[in-house]
Point group: C2
DNA sequence: CGTCGTCTTTGATGTATATCAATGGTCAAA
DNA sequence: TTTGACCATTGATATACATCAAAGACGACG
């Protein structure tokens, strides 16, 4: 049985598993897609698969950064806290996405599951040895880091300069586009996180998120279909709103 | 004579130069610090040094990302624009810092000098060949990207969740710390950019930047010494304000 | 199939920051 | 030394969003 992060409200950690890289359904979404059979075997050796319930902390900000993770199913959020509890979510991660990059020896943010999730957990130490042997893996990681940097800059524009409506429209569109990039349906789009998480991602309060969604609904650009499903009735108009037209 | 970016208000581009890596005063601040003599020679071969006047565009968002740059002196800002002209500055770069990382083939932001500045300009194509030969260079670049990612996340917290006073205090402290990291004096600290740039970096207006500075002055934590110089009278109190205590 | 707890929506009010407007500094050129 | 352009400061007012408060929804569980 895997120990990973802290256990809140007595959640049970579901078992680890070392078998299943071969059947991995999302391999072509991950950095595993660039591995040869030989590399794959070596990577598998420093890997454990863990299954976590919803709302479970994977690691805390300032923990020793001993592991890297790949989300294989479910949704994960990353966040930082201010002293008084104000929270900024810096990203949501879906199947195929990567977390754990750290500049120092410690994590710079807390990672927590939004839904039940499975993750591949890699030993940083052992993975780094592989990187030394196969530099193209590191090259791939640099590509991932560069993309994340671009996304971070877009998020700065959103947080610093967009209105609540523009933020909300951008968010819905981004979620839709990312679902399609994973091969899922982008319309209607599923928002697996609650209003508090959306607010902490967009720099808004719960109430403003809710009100802004009703505004978009009243404008006829979206329909709220319940349990986190949103229909994009006029995707182009939503795009215009996102960019401030 | 070097052509680089666009020329605004008829600025003259000051001459390029291929000689001076040996005398480079800031080499140990840059990624050149990890180079052997042989590597250095090869890197120098794909390098041009350019000197630019203040307020000169180095490259535009969506330009072909043919070059990487290292700031050797002066200050550079990176920004993105919304359709109606709203601007978010995503970073200021000082001597020793790196720009031009791009996920796609095009730059994701505009880069512009704040002061007169010198930059080492590298051909991306040729530099990438070197990276293939010497993977430790790529490893170093990955480290840089990881640090920038951490910084970007801190900036998201600032933009999404901090008050004007906390933003301003954080900014002054960051500028002070970065000056010290470059071996310059961190107190008094020099802010080479104008109020508009500070506002566009912090998600505030010019007026709010100005008012917030006067507030901090009236609290006695800083003194405004004219022409962009600020004395940190009570650095610890400023730190508390930055974190929301 | 009701009840409880949690999440979401909606309403009333407050406030931090933006906007609009004017004045004051500073520096370079005349 | 004066002029003019630009930038920073300060004041008055507006507003987008936050905060405080209550009422609905929804799902889990007995």
């Amino acid at each position: 049985m895997e120990q990973l992060g802290t256990h809140r409200h007595g959640d049970r950690i579901l078992g680890g598993d070392r078998q299943s890289c071969g059947e991995c359904e999302i391999r072509d979404l991950t950095f595993c897609s660039v591995l040869t059979a030989e590399e794959m075997a070596r990577v598998r050796a420093c890997r454990t698969e863990v299954k976590l319930p919803a709302h479970h902390t994977i690691f805390h900000e300032a923990d020793e950064a001993d592991h890297l993770f790949n989300v294989t199913s479910g949704v994960v959020k990353l966040y930082k806290l201010l002293a008084d509890g104000r929270r900024q979510i810096t990203g949501f991660l879906f199947a195929g996405e990567f977390l754990g990059l750290a500049a120092n020896r410690t994590y710079a943010y807390t990672a927590e599951t939004v839904t039940e999730a499975k993750l591949c957990r890699f030993s940083r130490r052992r993975l780094e040895k592989l990187f030394d042997e196969w530099p193209h893996l590191e090259k791939h990681l640099l590509g991932i880091a560069a993309s994340e940097l671009i996304a971070a800059q877009d998020q700065m524009v959103l947080l610093g300069r967009k209105t609540a409506q523009e933020k909300m429209a951008s968010f819905i569109l981004m979620m839709s586009e990312r679902a399609e990039a994973r091969g899922q349906d982008g319309n209607p789009v599923t928002l697996p996180m609650n209003r508090a998480d959306i607010g902490d991602y967009l720099g808004l309060t719960i109430e403003t998120v809710s009100r802004t969604l009703t505004q978009l609904k009243n404008k006829g650009v979206i329909s709220l279909m319940g349990s986190g499903h949103i229909l994009l009735s006029k995707p182009d108009d939503l795009g215009d709103l996102a960019e401030g037209f």
